[in-house]
Subunit: 530 residues, 2 copies
Amino acid sequence: MAQLQPVLVDGQWRPAKNTGVFSPLNPATRQPTGEVFPISSREEVEEVIEAAARASEALLGIDSEARARFLERFAGRIEARRAEIVALAHTESALPVKPRLDEVELPRTTGQLRQAAAAARQGSWTLPTIDTKAGLRSFFAPLEGGVVVFGPNNFPLAFNSAAGGDFAAAIAAGNPVIAKANSSHPGTTRLLAEEALAALKEAELPAATVQLIYRTDHQVGQRLVSHPQVGATGYTGSRHAGLVLKEAADRAGKPIYLELSSINPVLILPGALRERAAEIAGEFTSCLLAAGQFCTNPGVVLLLKGAETEAFIGLIVEKFRAAAVGTLLGEGVEHNLGHSVAALQQAGAELLVGGAAGGGTGCSFQNTLLRVEGRRFLATPEQLQQEAFGNASLLVVADDEDQAEALCRALEGNLTGTLYTDRAGSDEALYQRLAPILRRKVGRLLDDKMPTGVAISPAMNHGGPYPATGHSGFTAVGIPASLRRFAMLQSFDNMRPDHLPPELRDQNPTGQLWRCIDGAWTEGNVPAKT
Amino acid sequence: MAQLQPVLVDGQWRPAKNTGVFSPLNPATRQPTGEVFPISSREEVEEVIEAAARASEALLGIDSEARARFLERFAGRIEARRAEIVALAHTESALPVKPRLDEVELPRTTGQLRQAAAAARQGSWTLPTIDTKAGLRSFFAPLEGGVVVFGPNNFPLAFNSAAGGDFAAAIAAGNPVIAKANSSHPGTTRLLAEEALAALKEAELPAATVQLIYRTDHQVGQRLVSHPQVGATGYTGSRHAGLVLKEAADRAGKPIYLELSSINPVLILPGALRERAAEIAGEFTSCLLAAGQFCTNPGVVLLLKGAETEAFIGLIVEKFRAAAVGTLLGEGVEHNLGHSVAALQQAGAELLVGGAAGGGTGCSFQNTLLRVEGRRFLATPEQLQQEAFGNASLLVVADDEDQAEALCRALEGNLTGTLYTDRAGSDEALYQRLAPILRRKVGRLLDDKMPTGVAISPAMNHGGPYPATGHSGFTAVGIPASLRRFAMLQSFDNMRPDHLPPELRDQNPTGQLWRCIDGAWTEGNVPAKT
């Protein structure tokens, strides 16, 4: 048996205090990758939390420049070890090396770290607010205690718990991270954490600013997110496991930001189909890329009854049949996809194509399309809104516009919602009827574009109403907004000038920090009293 | 028996569908005020929620100017009915007519409504963010469904569920309000809701934008905060009742903003005592105003052992003994205060003065001071941090600076934390040791000032870590930040220009809306593409 991999606790790679072990599989071969990882005990988790709490306090006295430097050094180190990281991520996830891992996801990861560095350095994410008359000044500041990050299976780099979006946001905001690796790519996470530790030393940050464990049992996981010395948790993953953690965190009054599941409804209005059915079919089918394993994969397509709709459905059935079947991220994904497709069928959906495991290399499932009539959907909307994570989508055909509106109203919270309309304007009246309803069910509303891509932009919202996430006021992607999840609002009242944090003193510390002074945003100083 | 007061549902004052009744008491006489109010049934609550949900959808199509007009008309109408409102609030709360209700709290209430109107009109609270390169635009927008507001007992006007801070914030952000009156001042709440309804008509807003019920049983209350069609809840009140509601809301994934309890530690460092003990004693004792019934009343004072401390304690004991005993807000407050003082004594605190019910007119409790040594406090920190809401405070005397630091570390989350230091600078080293610890336990840190006043300022934070509130990222006081509790983040991706909300179009809708365009805050338009 291979040697048990160490955990990273308080700056040391050390043998785990574990209660068990696990061995990840290569999804393309269904064979073990050859590495063995520990399941951490409660004792180990307590040590990690305490070390993070000490680092959290130390970070309060270290300026943001050091955090920015760390994030940049870390990005550089990931690039320097690029081939090894990409190769192991490929072994563990079966995602293609090129273009996906090497040309898309790794640059996204390092770009995100550098954006987070810039945000930390500039500081405007803290929304400094100064009321000169009342003698009050406020901003967002780091939490007390470390931030726990649970990364998902589907982005081994860009959402990795030791290098991805939540990691970058938590560190940039001034918090240490306790990374809980996703069990499907623990080796990739270890490589990233190795570089993080080296970069911490270079930037002279506390060694416990980044720690790594691989897995815990449920009870220890609940302790982790509800511990008095933990600041907050970021979790991306299955709804079931997420809700177990949410309950524990909620009971303890600890913030937990969840990205749980989303079926990302796409409404294709009749004029759009008449105008460009083939083009839209192509866009839709391109979502089979990476076997549809995206948080924002279009899982439900809403259409209105008619000849064009039937022709469109025929077209995408053909395309789904013809498209190569991708390898899934693991046996769990394969199993769950089969389970979800069966559940949708039990709830009344009809199978148009696919529906069975296999068809590709290793873990795989046939490209699958299901169909259900609007009336049927409305009878059991909850069952028909189960996420089928992977290369499967459900088409819902509404009888008429009234039913289409009713379907929109029956939708749960989602990350995205999309409306395709014709350029000529014949869909406009229906758009105006449906968009206001859809808009409040989703975190991001799109016109004429599949929702799969998630740009790292200040105006991105990768969020949405429950059950897509745990709170519709926050985004997991998009800097600087994503940083504010891992921060607390602090107000300073009647403070002596030298007792104020630098961001809130009269003089703008860099001349580049945006602050709202007496109601106006400015990069200037607080005006001298007259 | 007096006639049962009606409820306000969907624009109509109508007989309640009730399961019981209650009769509030005048705390100054312990006699019924003469009015009788209904306990609403689940059926009634469902009707209220549905009407609010319809109003929520209608409000999405009405511009913010109408909401601003409503808030201003409402403020004007409160002023026009001032004498009657103040008189009933006095009867129900026993708070003095002058200066408190008439000269302080009523103007605060109308000022707050007008500030909220200005925020709604200007719109900058929505943090519009535009990324011209990525084609993404985001802002904060109203929730789907009404906002439930549970007001506290201690501010019958300024935190009233039908006119106070949460009400103003929720409406300004574009949400209808379901007001759940505090059972200690239902009549005052009814008068306010009458004026709100009239103002709604004048402003031509949906009639269900403001609704009022008075009380429910626990189960119906839990349904109210967890209903699928409710957007969020704002609650200010006791920790116990708040946590019951929090659990129900959390389970349903519904945001709930809680202000639960706070002991507001005040640390008086040795140099400050040497320099100005009498002055500080005066400031501290002035917190007996309104019988200490403030969320930010200084409930715990931390001192360091020494002769000056003993002299200071002697001074405030005298002042507490000499000060008039105020009337409490009701029998519940009187009972709970007795219970809390007894619990503190059981946990090892020694009674210095007071400790028994009575001493004032009607519901009252002697001005009470307790003392405990630092070592004892550290042995059972949870028991000794129970809030004693009213005119009671606990003095904690630390052996030395190390113990003072340990005491700071043992503090739970609070709304405020205060440090008094000397002007000469002899306390500075200890300040630098304690302030960073205290800072992250509290929402607002103060220098040399009692925390009782809560200015309505953009830089105020009336919030803090759990258990002071449910989430340290939000404030209940301070416009515009308080509005963002009742909003969701929405991103618009690839939208046709005329499909965008006005706030996110190229042209700044008013020339006064602050927007972050490509990283810079501006009141200008989106620059034309070159």
